[in-house]
């Protein structure tokens, strides 16, 4: 069937901000879909509120709406654009839910828009627990015993009927299993069920028989209009049932099923996609298998492209999202070509000749006090994938890709030994480090049976891990002397010695051991190990990911390393640039950096370079095989990057390596790369380091006549106390060389400082602690600029909504500034230009400043791509990272035609999005440590409206009427009156606790006083929130150790999804936004309208 000609315009819904359970994989799928649909001549209308995405670059869609993904806003877009079709299956759960709301409200029908890919009834069947169950029973598939409850009473009855604990509770229609959990006893059952009912938008939970410890599998299925079905990838989870698949270590393909068993699962997958009725596109189906009987259970099916689809695409080389988009417009699989082989059709099942391992990346350290146990609710923020010829190789590569300072499973110098009791717990209760404890258990001589009993991890995986440990334990014994002693005396010569060393080293490398692990075991520097390895000819070979296990010639240059006998890299005579990506997503380093890397690749391709991408994150656009001329799916460690460099630079063709786009990850490698003679292009690593070095940087600022808050560098508690004695409190303390404000804190007294120095950090002469006077109530400003060494152009000045002291990644900010005077803005520009010149910036530079009254302080300067680069690019309509990459390749801003700062006539607001709902028990206050996972952008000609949109997009639509609860800290009380009056004037009814309320009523503003929670009097504010009688909460935290009441209020607001402002400035901005919302209707506009 050829493409559908009854459609001209297609609306594509993106997935919005990055949150846990919905990461940048949907940018990858969205970009592929946009490209595929445009290629077919369709007009693509895109809506996505996330400015850090590549898909929202104006060139990917015909009309790009960076607007909130709510049914109301999307309806406006539909009304304006009149699309013929809506493709809801490529933007995650957000797109699916939004499309379903539009369908249920009759909006699609009203505007004559039809859903393509999956029809509403199929989505309903796939997502609704009860309908899904009925459908599965109909086709003869097995399910856990279960029931659906809408109230706690119904839940209790179901639990009794099932009759066994533990029980699994899954709320309906939530992302990544939010609010779900496992209950081992009645009390837990009540708590989790209540939370689940609360969080489910339809107040529905599924309660089911526990499958804990069962083997877990996933199948990625595709189907076309002609009912052709194929499996793209099968996945087996190392962690058995009980851990969310997003938090599990997973392996492709399935390892422990016979063909018969696998084919039963394959047939079941097809039966499932057909019965649910997903017409075209990809679906993900999860199965559990009882390890002793083989009973197979269908867990769930996602009638859309998912995180696993992205993984499957990267694992096999089959572009699921792209093909799904083409199938949605009427093509059949056999009509589409497999890009990789160019000869064979897309209607086939990839067969792979390697093992893929995905390991999740966690950031529990950001949320102290949160429960670190892995459950059915997803908690990881990113993932790394690695490819090897054996599971052992791919697992160890994946572990060193995580960038958690581990260089393999064991023996890398980072093992933390624990006692047997702790080890037992660490094995039996799933946690982020369990894989390393498995290694430790084997090292202690624990048996497979013993460990299986604790973990229920399939013995096949356990034996593989045991084999790695056994090999590790042999390393130290295998000295060169020992190896030579094995050679028969009559054969002992230089050649046989070299061969012995070669063979042993190669054997270790084939098991995935890193140079670091080997060096640690031999007790020599890694550089020596590397030199020896190369001397004996042990170098990796690069293999193609070709979808067909080498059966056909492959054209797509997608490589991974292994220690085989043949290298498949194709040489050519082009000049090359290597771009280092950002590795797994984490808080502080996410999609923004992938955006920059992708742009660098596009830009350098435009200039005719061969671009080479190195990354280990399967969720990204950078690891799409057609983003760059070559893709190396490899860990971002010095060893792996040097190997690639040496391979690619064999004929001296590498112009240089770009380290300044991938966030901290590649920057950390810069020094080592330079020491090994690798050319780094762009701003020199020396200057990047200079900006990080407090003393050198302070001197530089002095020379330039710029100011910093008084500060000092301490290598001990005594030094720190001496500094604060001089500069005073409050002070901001943090370790040097960190991203995302790890372990950063504001201290108000000697006691707090002492506590911090003793507990939060380990200060040493190598790793000093930075102490800065904290500027209270200052306005924070971010500046992004671009420089070629001669010319510097300001990208944008961003004024933060929240005051200085809150991590810039967590604050809302506005382009252009709304309260800074023109003179102050000029001083900021001047400072940026001076610094860019002084640091000889070739590319991007980000600067953070604080404005207090007439004083301007430089907080920090980062001469590299910043988190805000994509936001700024979208706001001003200039792709800064692209220009920066071209500068690094030798172009000047003049040549590129960008010499004037663009000051837009519209306002762009960036707002952060937080994962607090996943970490119960963690207070939601903001501080110098970054906690947000993603961001949204609100854009409008009116500042208030732009802010309103940003809140809407972040999931906290501001109310236009109702009750507002205000409770602020002592120091905010003088300023609260103005805010309170503002809300009262807009028609809101005010509620407050006695302290804040007293101040408000004294000013003559009517306010209702609510009892303090601790008083026990009811109803209190939480009752009102639960009854949906509170439209908004303004609650500013009272310092480092907030009162219990405050935490309860903030948590309740979050759980009941009531907009909450935790700063007065935020409350003020909200006031402005509400005024705009009351005054006029929200308008939607495409980016293309703003940047004509």
């Amino acid at each position: 069937m050829p493409r559908d000609t009854s459609i001209q315009k297609i609306l594509l819904i993106g997935s919005g901000p990055i949150i846990i359970g919905q990461g940048c994989e949907f940018d990858y799928s969205g970009v592929q879909a946009c490209k595929a649909l445009k290629e077919e001549g369709y007009k693509v209308i895109l809506v996505n509120s996330n400015p850090a995405t590549i898909m929202t670059d104006p060139e990917f869609a015909d009309r790009t709406y960076v607007e909130p993904i709510t049914p109301e806003m999307v309806e406006k877009i539909i009304g304006k654009e009149k699309p013929d079709a809506l493709l809801p299956t490529l933007g995650g759960q957000t797109a699916l839910n939004t499309a379903m709301s539009l369908h249920r409200a009759g909006i699609l029908e009203k505007h004559g828009v039809r859903m393509i890919g999956a029809k509403p009834d199929a989505i309903e069947k796939g997502e609704d627990r009860l309908l899904f169950k009925e459908a599965m029973i109909k086709i003869g598939l097995d399910l856990p015993k279960s029931g659906v409850a809408h109230t706690i009473e119904e839940a209790r009855i179901i639990a009794e009927e099932i009759g066994t604990m533990p029980l699994i509770i899954r709320p309906a229609y939530t992302l990544g299993g939010t609010g779900g959990g496992i209950a081992y006893n009645k009390e837990e059952f009540e708590t989790i069920t209540a939370r689940g009912l609360d969080l489910s938008p339809v107040c529905e939970v599924l309660i089911e028989e526990s499958l804990l410890g069962w083997k877990e599998f996933e199948m990625e299925v595709m189907r076309d209009k002609a009912d052709n079905c194929v499996i793209i990838c099968s996945i087996e989870n190392l962690d058995p049932m009980g851990v969310h698949t997003g938090d599990s270590i997973t392996v492709a393909p399935i390892q422990t099923l016979t063909d018969r068993e696998y084919q039963i699962m394959r047939d079941a997958s097809f039966a499932c996609i057909r019965e649910i009725g997903v017409e075209t596109g990809g679906s993900n189906i999860q199965f559990a298998i009882h390890p002793d009987t083989g009973r197979m259970i269908v867990i769930e099916m996602n009638p859309r492209v998912s995180r696993s689809s992205a993984l499957a695409s990267k694992a096999t080389g089959f572009p699921i999202a792209k093909i799904a988009a083409k199938l949605a417009v009427g093509y059949t699989l056999d009509e589409l070509k497999n890009d990789i082989t160019r000869e064979t059709p897309a209607s086939f099942e990839p067969t792979i000749d390697y093992v893929v391992t995905k390991v999740p990346r966690f950031t529990f350290e950001k949320f102290p006090g949160s429960d670190e146990t892995l459950t059915t609710q997803m908690k990881s923020v990113g993932e790394a994938m690695a490819i090897g010829r054996t599971f052992k190789e791919s697992l160890q590569k994946a572990l060193r890709s995580l960038e958690i300072k581990r260089f393999g499973l064991i023996g890398d110098g980072a093992d933390v030994e624990v006692d047997d009791e702790t080890l037992t717990t660490k094995l039996s209760v799933p946690n982020a480090e369990r894989i390393f404890f498995l290694g430790q258990a084997f090292a202690k001589g624990w048996s497979v049976d013993r460990i299986f009993a604790l973990t229920k991890i399939d013995p096949w995986f356990l034996r593989q891990i045991a084999e790695i440990v056994e090999a590790e334990q042999q390393i130290t014994g295998n000295t060169s002397d020992h190896l030579f002693s094995l050679i028969p005396a009559d054969q002992l010569n230089d050649d046989s010695k070299a061969a012995a060393l070669h063979d042993f080293m190669r054997r270790m490398k084939r098991l995935g051991f890193s140079d670091r692990q080997l060096a640690v075991q031999y007790g020599i520097p890694e550089a020596h190990l590397r030199a020896g390895r190369i001397k004996y000819g042990v170098r990796p070979t690069y293999r193609l990911v070709d979808t067909c296990a080498a059966e056909f010639e492959a054209f797509t240059p997608y490589y991974y390393s292994t220690y085989g006998i043949e290298d498949e890299v194709r040489d050519n005579d082009r000049q090359k640039v290597i771009i280092l990506g950002g590795g797994p997503n984490r808080i502080g380093q996410g999609i923004e950096f992938d955006y920059c890397c992708v742009h660098a690749s596009f830009a350098l391709r435009e200039l005719g370079f061969e671009t080479i991408m190195v990354n280990s994150n399967p969720e990204t656009v950078s690891t799409d095989y057609d983003t760059s001329d070559k893709l190396y799916f490899e860990p971002l460690t010095l060893e792996d990057v040097l190997n690639i460099y040496e391979r690619e630079n064999r004929h001296d063709q590498v112009l240089g390596v770009i380290v300044q786009f991938g966030g901290q990850t590649p920057l950390n490698l810069a020094k080592g790369l330079e020491e090994n003679g690798v050319r780094i292009i762009g701003t020199s690593p020396k200057n990047i380091e200079l900006a990080e070095d407090r003393k050198m940087f302070a001197k530089l600022l002095d020379d330039l006549g710029l100011h910093q808050a008084p500060s000092g560098t301490a290598t001990s508690l005594e030094e720190a106390l001496a500094i604060t004695a001089q500069i005073g409190y409050p002070s901001l303390v943090r370790p040097s060389f960190v991203l995302g404000g790890r372990a950063m804190q504001i201290v108000y007294s000697d006691a707090e400082l002492t506590h911090y120095m003793k507990n939060a950090v380990e200060a040493t002469p190598d790793r000093p602690v930075l102490v800065d006077r904290f500027l209270e109530d200052a306005t924070e400003v971010d500046v992004d600029c671009i420089s070629d060494g001669e010319t510097t152009v300001i990208g944008a000045i961003m004024e933060h909504i929240e005051e200085a002291g809150i991590h810039s990644g967590d604050s809302a900010c506005v382009i252009p500034p709304f309260s800074l005077s023109a003179a102050m803005q000029d001083r900021i520009r001047d400072a940026a230009k001076k610094l860019a010149k002084a640091l000889n910036v070739r590319g991007l530079m980000n600067m953070q400043l604080a404005v207090k009254g007439d004083d301007l302080y430089v907080i920090e300067v980062n001469p590299r791509a910043s988190r805000t680069a994509p936001f700024v690019s979208k706001a001003i309509g200039v792709p800064l990272p692209k220009l920066a990459a071209k500068i690094m390749a030798g172009k000047t801003l003049k040549e590129l035609g960008f010499t004037e700062e663009v000051i837009p006539s519209h306002y762009s607001v960036k707002e952060a999005v937080f994962p607090f709902s996943k970490f119960t028990g963690v207070d939601i206050i903001l501080g110098p440590e970054m906690k947000s996972t993603g961001e949204v952008m609100g854009i409008d000609y009116d500042l208030g409206m732009a802010f309103a949109k940003s809140q809407m997009a972040a999931g906290g639509t501001l109310p236009t009427k109702g009750n507002v609860f205000i409770s602020v800290k002592e120091t905010d009380r003088p300023n609260v009156v103005r805010i309170a009056k503002g809300y009262a004037d807009l028609g809101f009814t005010l509620y407050a606790t006695s302290g804040t309320g007293g101040v408000i009523s004294e000013a003559g503003i009517p306010v209702n006083i609510l009892p303090k929670l601790a008083s026990g009097q009811r109803p209190n504010v939480i009752d009102l929130m639960k009854n949906k009688d509170m439209a908004m909460v303004i609650n500013t935290p009272s310092g480092k150790n907030p009162r219990e009441d405050e935490i309860k209020i903030r948590t309740a607001a979050m759980q009941n999804r009531i907009p909450i402002m935790t700063t007065l400035r935020g409350a003020d901005a909200a006031l402005r936004a509400i005024k705009s919302l009351q005054g006029s209707e929200v308008q939607v506009r495409a980016l293309q309208e703003y940047h004509r």
Partner: protein, 394 residues
């Protein structure tokens, strides 16, 4: 123990031995299935061949008593990147290593099977020697490979066909479809559970047709599938005459899969020709190639064959694509066929013939394996089509 794999072009791969300590020669080919090694090892169509698996980890789920496709192992040698000495699967009763030892088949691991696959893709199928008993050095092994008889012109069918005819599974105990337990099977109206042997099987229908099956190296799953479709099967030796078959007056005739060069079996071509138009005929793989010859067509050797479970086949009549299990080194030349023969299926990768139908007589065939084992079940419907064909011809 060190082991060698030597190719006739002089390439030698060194690895480690597993399986039986012995030396064997045969044509080397690669199979791209990621699972199903037990079925591959026991498929008689691999007679005379050394098989290399492209998936690197083989042996993970061990060997079980139920997945054999014949009474023995037919591959001459087995080549893998890494074999798994201790398997993990609830049905496993033996490791791959032990199994190969028991059947006297040598294995080699630790070689770069991707490099080998690429070599075969470029140079085509080759004769080879797998030596894992230390009896040969590299040069000797290459020499031995060069002396081995080529696949072209060789008749391996005589080695694998049943010496005497037999009645397949008269008790209906071997043919039930193996499956997994289910707490409630809607089709059966009750839970599906394991029998005393720990297996879970789907009951058989009554016998409706009697057919004669030519055994050129027939796979058990073909026999099982036939029986599951209501066929009572009389299996006969490959040299059985058409006259003898017709004397039994079956409802239909089945031509099985099998090893070797189809062109070398003129004694079969002749008899099949004599059966055309007399009885409904269904043929699979080598049987399909036999039909090709019987129609007056030719077969040719593919460069490196189709072996794996992901081969896309298009049904030219319905337009539907099936992902199929394949194992063949020869193919029917479409241009050689007379006009009364219709090409019904083609391979989407290389356009070669995958299915034939006689426009006038009740005869059809497929080059691939609708019985799967290993591989996808997408094409199982052919057994039903055979039943329909018989019904129509009655």
């Amino acid at each position: 123990m060190n082991a060698l794999l030597a190719l006739e072009d002089g390439t030698v791969y060194e690895g480690r031995a597993f399986g039986a300590p012995t030396t064997r020669a045969g044509e080397i080919c690669f199979n791209t299935s990621m699972s199903g090694y037990q079925e591959v090892l026991t498929d008689p169509s691999y007679r005379g061949q050394i098989v290399s698996m492209t998936y690197p980890l083989i042996g993970n789920y061990g060997i079980n008593p139920f997945d054999d496709e014949s009474a023995g192992v037919h591959v001459r040698g087995f080549v893998v990147e890494e074999h798994c000495p201790v398997p993990s699967n609830w049905r496993s009763t033996e490791s791959l290593d032990k199994y190969l030892q028991r059947h006297g088949v040598p294995g080699i691991e630790g070689i770069d099977t991707r490099a080998l696959t690429k070599r075969l893709r470029v140079a085509g199928a080759m004769r080879s020697v797998l030596c894992n008993d230390g009896s040969l050095n590299a040069a000797q092994a290459v020499e031995l490979a060069r002396q081995a008889p080529p696949m072209e012109g060789s008749d391996f069918v005589r080695e694998v066909t049943t010496p005497e005819g037999y009645h397949w599974d008269p008790e209906g105990s071997e043919s039930r479809a193996w499956t997994i337990p289910n707490s409630y099977d809607a089709a059966m109206g009750r839970p599906r559970s394991q029998d005393e042997a720990g297996q879970c099987c789907i009951p058989l229908p009554d016998v409706r047709y009697r057919v004669v099956a030519y055994d050129f190296g027939i796979k058990r799953n073909i026999l099982r599938r036939l029986r599951q479709q209501g066929f009572d099967v009389e299996v006969v030796n490959a040299r059985t005459t058409a006259e003898a078959v017709l004397a039994r007056n079956p409802d239909g005739v089945f031509l099985s899969n099998g090893p070797g060069d189809p062109a070398a079996l003129d004694y079969v071509h002749r008899e099949v020709r004599a059966l055309l138009g007399k009885k409904p005929i269904f043929a699979i793989c080598l049987g399909h190639q036999m039909l090709g010859h019987a129609f007056g067509g030719r077969t040719f050797k593919l460069k490196f064959g189709h072996r794996g479970g992901n081969q896309p086949v298009k049904d030219l009549r319905s337009g539907k694509v099936a992902i199929t299990s394949q194992n063949h080194g020869f193919a029917v030349d479409a241009d050689s066929l007379p006009k009364e023969i219709e090409v019904t299926h083609i391979n989407l990768n290389d356009g070669t013939v995958e299915g034939l139908r006689h426009r006038d007589a009740p005869v059809f065939s497929v080059q691939y394996h609708p019985e799967a084992a290993p591989g996808p079940n997408d094409a199982t419907y052919f057994f039903e089509e055979f039943a329909n064909l018989i019904e129509e011809s009655r």
